[in-house]
Amino acid sequence: MTDRLLFEISRPGRVGVSLTEPDNTVPLPELLPGVALREELRLPEVAQLDVVRHFVRLSQKNFSIDTNFYPLGSCTMKYNPKIHEDVVRLDGFAHLHPAQDEDDVQGALRLMAELEGYLAEIAGMKAVSLQPAAGAHGELTGVLIMRAFHRERGDAARRRILVPDSAHGTNPATAAICGYEVTPVRSDERGGVDLGDLASKLGSDVAGLMVTIPSTLGLFDEGIATVADMVHRSGGLVYCDGANLNAVVGRARFGDLGGDIMHFNLHKTFTTPHGGGGPGAGPVAVRADLERYLPVPRIVPHLDREGAYTCETARPLSVGRVRSFFGNFGMLVRAYTYIRMLGSSGLADVSGCAVLNANYLRVRLSDVYDVPYDRICMHEFVMSARRQKAANGVRALDIAKRLIDFGYHPPTIYFPLVVEEALMIEPTETENRETLDAFVETMRRIATEAGETPEVLQEAPHGTPVRRLDEVTAARRPNVRYQAAATT
């Protein structure tokens, strides 16, 4: 049952915090002559304890990494270190205004310049912009860079972008809002880009390819260097979606694999918290000759002052600004902290153990669930519930919902689209072996239940504050804001 809404516990006259009283000596219309003023402001009125209880109770209705195992494929729900939360609250970060004079913010500029350098090294590319606020925002920036590159060369005929059929939805959506037509490319039987299909779709009207490394099937495409060569030979650029960088960080670099542009999801590889859906951060890295297209401002060394930094805005070929000021700085501070603590060896251990944990689960589950691409996987793998569906009418959705009853957040389901009844599992490197073993036992028990008591799965979850919800009615008759009876 939904807790009562703030609006429903509101009582006229209550205030949750003590504030300085205004003078109120001059009437508003005198301070704001000729200005249309508001008559009503229907915000909740709640005492402080009631505010606190309301939100604490709500927090307890969430699964979270700190309370539950979250094997959510493609999302990298790993531990978010507590020191990150402490450092962003330091006065010198939290209370810094982005339009302050550069002399007053040298620490922040230096941190960003150094982080750009670390990310460039991790990418095997030349330059980085930290401005994009999320992965999809990085994609937008990257595709606009691709567009600027072709336009500067007078090559405006390139109107298509190729996207593998296994890609995240953000890839085709980004290409489309940047004005491109999207052409899908098939996956081959090993889960990689189908080279024949790619060849047939490349041409002088293709601006580039957006490809996720490792692929969204959790597989490293051995042909990736060939794919990049083919795209380059036809005059296109290779955009690497860095959503799965955590599988290879410290072991392979997208620049070395033939990538020209990439984005990072700091909330994945560099473990900034997901926050219930954001904020994220999506820095973009590019090869040397694409640096001139990066968003402004650029943070550059000060010409006259050793060790100081300044912001450069006069960049005529830049794609422009994609966000106000410097991006999600607080997320950058966390990622910087993480990289400084782990260093090169620590980052390689992250990818090593992420891949170890995923393969351990894959091997231990592949006898009870179908694994369509049953080979060494990267940080995640895709199972299919097609066997359970055929035998007992139990779908991936039912298995996912049944996991909730055992205290697990469900895996990602029905993605990638190329796998029937997909269950995508990503354990991450921060989960210990006992947790993985317990999860395996639960998944095996659910497979047994699918044969014996399928209705238990089909009606799951059973113990949650609400059970399966009517999404059709929610979309047909949207109720997306509180309306007091008197105000309609």
């Binding site: 508001r38 209705k61 978010n80 939805g169 072991r251 422009g320 090169s344 399966r468």
Partner: protein, 455 residues
Amino acid sequence: MTYVPHTPLDRAEMLATIGVRSIEDLFEDIPADRRVHHLDLPSPLSEMETARLMARIAGENQPVTELASFLGAGGYRHFIPSVVAHITGRSEFYTAYTPYQPEVSQGTLQVIYEYQSMVAELTGMDVANASMYDGASALGEAVLMAAAVTRRKRIAIASSVHPQYRAVAETYASGPDIDVRAIPQSFAGQFDARLGVSTAMASLDESCAALIVQQPNFLGAIEDLRALAETAHRVGALLIVAVNPIALALLESPGSAGADIVVGEGQPLGIPLSFGGPWLGIFAARNEFVRQMPGRIVGITTDVDGRRGLVLTLQSREQHIRRERATSNICTNQALCALASTVYLATVGRIGLRTVARLCLERAHDAARRIGALPDVQLASASPFFHEFVVRSPLPGTELLRRLRGDAVIGGYPLGRDYPDLENAILVCITEANTTVEIDLLVEAIARHTSGASR
């Protein structure tokens, strides 16, 4: 150090289960000549060393809390009640994922529903989404949406809209070749910083998808939204308004005035400045456009037992369902920042938000009156304003600010950077977080530094 729990024995046994000898063997698909074995990064640090390092870097910055700061220009220092950080610091909120599994996400979903409700109320719009990256990118999305709704490809934007918002709107518009044109406005001498109807009309025609204005605008002035809405609608264009949500506690809502899309920066609602982010993009629209809106939206429905519950809804607009036909490519929202704003608004409530806005207004007007009375400076704009105003002096804006900084005062924002007419002007912002002692210091320091400067 890493956060990996595995002991050497764990690793050995797990590798044996998989049937490989080493972790290296798991990466055999990567061609050997394309692998790296070491990255050129600083050596790893312990947690204690890291804490010291980060404190040192933070110490190289001068936070506004240690100075008398009158800097606004898109980011605003307000008092944040303690409750806000205590709630956003709960890891059940900040370590949760996007609420795609509603049965285990009712907490986050209800917060977003309450957030949407409060944003809709403040803006006077029918429906708000779960938030965007920031005010500027929310405006970029509004440009794309207006073009899609009207099937027109030209946008007229007031020059008095935040320069960075204009820049971001242009970037978003560049992909689909939407033409964003700034409406010429003069800010020379004494001026009215509001966008006049005739000035707006001169830049509008039947090819325009939207007119974009800001409320209050970048120079602090309060626009006449009713007149501008009427002007835009006359040629079939939408009115898009970028708002400061604190000002809306006092002003007629953009929705009541006729706006079609309202965006804005939610940072003033309980979010620290944090050098520009993470902040909060507000996005709200009329009901008729709900299926063309970008971003996540939460709705109320019922579960199989008939109980009230919440879900992400209208997802057929979104990239993970609709792919290249989605209304936007956005995937995340700024959920944790939306939580901060929801807690902030719940805590200050109806009465408190008006109090905060009223304090900003009174203190800003008092300071403006005193600064305007100084012999060598003028208030450049005669328009009604909320908590920001333009001060022109005989000195270049950057020079006046440099001198004020010598008195531990951040005097404001140098407007010459963005407006050639305003080389000698600064934008001063006063909120309830500025004490009367600070304001006295500001007035006195401006008087001292400008006295006789014109002679």
